[in-house]
């Protein structure tokens, strides 16, 4: 049995001809005549073969494959052009892919649990992160309840000591069913069993296991000291699971039963996040009302006399948790990423336009070839497909290179932006799909633009030699393309300039407290088992030691503020209304240490900060907002909410405003209260000269007090400021980089266009030279020609920038989005680059003699 279709057809045809010939022979013909007659009746064998093949093959695919190979061959013949085009495409596509991988990691990708879309978190309307008491969680964990599986968790920083060294770790205290409900299987060991006996066990994260224990498999089953007690490591979480909150990479998971005895945590910290999967078939509204009923019933069971249980229950909502819990990093960077996506889109368009321009310029060498093809009957559609094939070949190279670029950039970013540490910026399938789709659209657009520049009718008439070589291309489309590139480059330059200046402004902004020579120390004795009283004494003793160190002018403590990353909030009752104000508990000499000016009244005395006196200090903003004016604020009383009758405090002083955590706002009302016997504080140290140099001394002083208490962090105020400005730094750097690329691409595009024009008009230049024109006059001629697309592009660009001013307003600081300096700089830069790109191709031609130019084709 013949297997190949072509072979089969051959056999069939042969048999057919034989049979026909046999019939003729039987009728009396000679064998030769019979065979000839058979062939005549059959018709064209070759035609038959072709038609049969055409039935089974896709004609278009076949032709396209041939076009691809042809495109590859022709591109290989001009390596410099191909390299330029591929690099240009790689840049455009690589930048897009990198930004999209960040968008994917931060905004799109759900957490790596099974069926993330089924998860819901219990919150309250109007509050971002409302937590609930653990007992309430227990009522929700009944079988047959609203959830088929529900877990509770809260996070807390701890120290892990192993082999004599201590490391700070982020611990999540979870219910034993945590990993099972989420569907996360440990890569080593096991998760928690559902018994109380599992109390002193811990599951470590992949990152922590790799970093701290070098990925030793033997660690499973080993015992390490967490906080005050030894814990047994029972498992290692899978590599991509880092807890339920993006940006907060959990290092350890510990059963909640272990929390009270083993680790001392302040009571207010043991409210939990409640996350669960809804029971099958339950709709959200039904589930929500059932949870509310549960809460009401539970609240009334706990405190039957208190009113408002129903109202409190009514504020409960169920929010989808497919992306985990609310994430600070995501909220912080969401807007910046959107801006970056917009910038990348502009760059992508410039890339398309640029590569189209390059390909069009290359067409001049192929005009005769294309003219011949058109004369032979190739339709415009076929021509388009051929150009598409070439574009596809270029894009394959561009995508490959672009992905390489994107992977390296994406890998480097988290190291550069500390807030993104632990974020997995790999090129997920979604990102790759988007990149591929971008590439396909790019190829189509490039081919379309090229087709638009071919003037079919004129090309056809120029197949004959000895006719001007370049008449068949529409110049105007190319010029429009260049205008478009220039137009898009201007908003990019303006944005970059604004972002850079905002970043610089924020860096040097007035903070209201000392700008330098200030250190912040994070040390928490409670983490190694100090009781609150001992911890409070620890801080006092530490301050005494620090204050006598050489080079230290003063030291104090607080529980937040001054870019420490901690900010407390309290509710103020004033004039019958409730206001939430920033509240900082401070120790003695806080204001002098931080160099915060006292506007009226006084600071806290030593006995007030150590005791429990009902005093307070306000800043000018609070006095102005709530207390008529700052002059008479001293002596007035403010009332803080404390769950009972109200905490009445007398104002003893008014201080100047300090900046908020973002360095942008200096008008946040702030209340200062004495720290008293607070057990969790940040230590501030003011030095006389360079603060970084005092760090070793400070470590020694703390060690001499108690070497068991580890210093978790010592940072200068400059370093804190840099941390706070990560987002602005990212925007400034990224937008500048992209603006430079865009400017380069525009320059290259303009250069190609002018080279093309010069080549077209070489003879004309020769004539002018022969007639006595000077170089400067010829240069001016071409500059005038460039001026038109430049002017058009500049106008469009300025218009676009002004239109985008409102979007940019949210990102800038200390500079207006329509700041004239930015626009002037953008235009000047563009004019400079355009002049260079115009004059450079001209140089060679005007140096040559007139006769040489006249002889040019």
């Amino acid at each position: 049995m013949p297997t190949n279709r072509d072979e089969e057809l051959e056999r069939e045809i042969r048999t057919h001809l034989e049979l026909e010939a046999e019939e003729h022979i039987a009728a009396g013909m000679s064998p030769e005549d019979a065979h000839a007659a058979a062939r005549r009746s059959f018709g064209h064998v070759i035609r038959t073969r072709e038609d049969v093949t055409a039935v089974w093959t896709n004609v278009w695919l076949d032709h396209f494959w041939r076009d691809l190979r042809q495109g590859l061959r022709s591109l290989r013949r001009s390596p410099r052009f191909t390299a330029t085009a591929v690099v240009t495409l790689a840049v455009g596509i690589g930048a897009t892919a990198a930004v999209f991988s960040a968008v994917d990691a931060l905004l799109i990708r759900p957490i790596p649990v099974s069926a993330p879309e089924e998860l819901y978190v219990v919150r309250r309307a109007g509050e971002t992160r409302a937590r609930f008491p653990f007992e309430f969680y227990r009522t929700l964990n009944e079988p047959g309840g609203v959830f088929s599986g529900v877990v509770a968790s809260f996070t807390f920083p701890l120290t892990v000591v192993e082999g004599g060294t201590g490391t700070r770790a982020k611990a999540a205290f979870v219910t034993p069913n945590y990993f099972d409900v989420l569907g996360v299987r440990p890569q080593l060991g096991r998760s928690f069993r559902d018994e109380e006996g599992d109390a002193l066990t811990v599951v470590v994260s992949h990152e922590f296991w790799r970093r701290r224990f070098n990925g030793r498999a033997s660690m499973v089953g080993e015992s390490v000291r967490v906080g005050r007690q030894p814990f047994v490591i029972v498992g290692v979480a899978p590599p991509d699971f880092q807890g339920l909150q993006l940006g907060l990479a959990v290092d350890l998971w510990i059963p909640m039963a272990a929390s009270p005895e083993a680790i001392q945590i302040p009571a207010f910290r043991t409210r939990v996040d409640v996350v669960g999967r809804l029971a099958a078939g339950l709709s959200i509204p039904t589930a929500t009302s059932r949870v509310r009923t549960e809460h009401q019933r539970w609240a009334e069971g706990v405190a039957p006399a208190s009113a408002g249980a129903r109202t409190k229950a009514r504020s409960i909502v169920l929010r989808p948790a497919s992306h985990g819990l609310e994430s600070h990093v995501r909220d912080q960077f969401r807007a910046s990423l959107s801006l970056l996506v917009g910038i990348c889109a502009c760059l992508w368009i410039i890339t398309i336009v640029n590569v189209s321009g390059l390909l069009t310029a290359r067409l001049r060498e192929r005009q005769r070839e294309i003219g011949i093809r058109l004369a032979l009957g190739v339709t415009s559609a076929r021509l388009f497909v051929q150009m598409l094939a070439e574009a596809v070949v270029l894009l394959c190279g561009g995508v490959f290179l672009g992905v390489v670029v994107a992977v390296s950039v994406a890998g480097a970013i988290p190291r550069w932006i500390p807030a993104w540490e632990g974020l997995d910026l790999r090129l997920s399938p979604l990102v790759l799909t988007i990149t591929a789709a971008t590439a396909v659209v790019t190829a189509l657009m490039v081919a379309l633009i090229q087709s638009a520049t071919i003037d079919r009718r004129r090309l056809l008439s120029y197949v004959v030699p000895n006719v001007p070589r370049f008449a068949g291309c529409r110049f105007r489309v190319s010029t429009a393309l260049v205008s478009g590139q220039l137009a898009l480059t201007i908003p990019l330059i303006v944005t970059a300039s604004l972002m850079v200046r905002s970043f610089v402004n924020l860096g040097s902004a007035e903070t209201g407290f000392a700008r330098s020579h200030l250190l912040q120390i994070e040390v928490e004795p409670v983490l190694v088992g100090y009781s609150p009283e001992r911890a409070s004494a620890y801080y006092t003793a530490l301050l005494d030691r620090l204050r006598v160190l050489p080079g230290v002018s003063d030291a104090s403590v607080s529980n937040g503020g001054a870019l420490s990353g901690y900010d407390g909030i309290a509710a103020l009752h004033q004039d019958g209304a409730r206001h939430e104000v920033r509240t900082i508990a401070v120790g003695e000499r806080y204001f002098s240490t931080l160099d915060i000016r006292v506007l009226s009244g006084r600071v806290f005395a030593r006995r007030e900060t150590e005791g429990d006196e009902r005093v307070a200090i306000v800043n000018a903003a609070l006095a102005g907002r709530f207390l008529v004016d700052e002059e008479t604020a001293v002596g007035k009383t403010v009332t803080l909410e404390d769950g009972e009758g109200g905490d009445h405090r007398m104002i003893v002083g008014v201080v100047e405003n300090t900046t908020d955590a973002n360095l942008r706002d200096k008008t946040t009302p702030t209340l200062y209260v004495p720290a008293g016997r607070s057990a969790l504080l940040v230590v501030h140290v003011r030095t006389q000269s360079d603060s970084a140099g005092s760090i070793p001394m400070i470590r020694q002083a703390a060690a001499s007090l108690d070497p068991n208490v580890p210093i978790l962090a010592i940072e200068t105020i400059d370093s804190r400021r840099r941390s706070v400005l990560q987002r602005e730094r990212l925007l400034a750097a990224a937008s500048t980089g992209i603006a430079c690329i865009a400017l380069t691409l525009s320059a290259v595009g303009l250069f190609a266009l002018v080279s093309y024009a010069v080549a077209t008009r070489t003879r004309e230049i020769g004539i002018r030279q022969a007639l006595g024109a000077r170089r400067s006059q010829i240069a001016r001629l071409f500059l005038m020609d460039t001026a038109r697309p430049l002017a058009l592009g500049a106008m469009l660009g300025l218009g676009t920038s002004i239109a985008l001013a409102r979007t940019l307003a949210a990102f800038v600081y200390g500079v207006s989005p329509t700041d004239s300096i930015a626009y002037i700089m953008a235009i000047s830069l563009l004019v400079l680059v355009a002049a260079g790109a115009t004059l450079l191709p001209l140089r060679q031609t005007v140096r040559v003699s007139a006769s040489a130019n006249l002889k040019a084709d």
Binding site: M1, P2, E8, L9, R11, E12, I13, T15, H16, L19, E20, E23, S41, F42, G43, H44, V45, R47, T48, D51, V52, A54, V55, W56
Partner: protein
């Protein structure tokens, strides 16, 4: 190039109809189909034998006929084509379309100008 052109003057659809009709009476090989059309139409329908094969392949691709290599009595290995159920349905449809066309043509040719 264009698959619709036939030197025999027949439209592509007509050739398909002839083939399907021929196969109604039983499986046949390519040469036999050509001879049958020739004989039955009394040599009026001149079909180039070579044009049958693309049509047969097209019909097979559409699922109207199937083919098998079989041994004939004379010991030759030949490819026999058979009608499928789908082919039968297609044949009925094409036949009624053709009859309608024929009726319309007859009416056209019978009308007298001015009447």
């Amino acid at each position: 190039m264009s698959h619709g052109r036939r030197r025999s003057g027949l439209l592509q659809g007509t050739l398909d109809l002839l083939i399907l009709r021929t196969l109604l009476f039983g499986p046949l090989h390519g040469h036999g189909i050509a001879k049958h059309i020739q004989r039955t139409s009394a040599d009026v329908l001149q079909v180039e034998h070579g044009s049958l094969y693309p049509a047969l392949h097209r019909l097979e691709k559409n699922g109207c006929i199937t083919s098998n290599w079989e041994q004939t009595e004379r010991g030759r290995e030949m490819r026999l084509y058979r009608l499928t159920a789908k082919g039968r349905k297609q044949l009925t449809a094409e036949e009624s379309k053709w009859k309608e066309l024929a009726r319309a043509m007859t009416r056209m040719l019978r009308t007298v100008p001015g009447a």
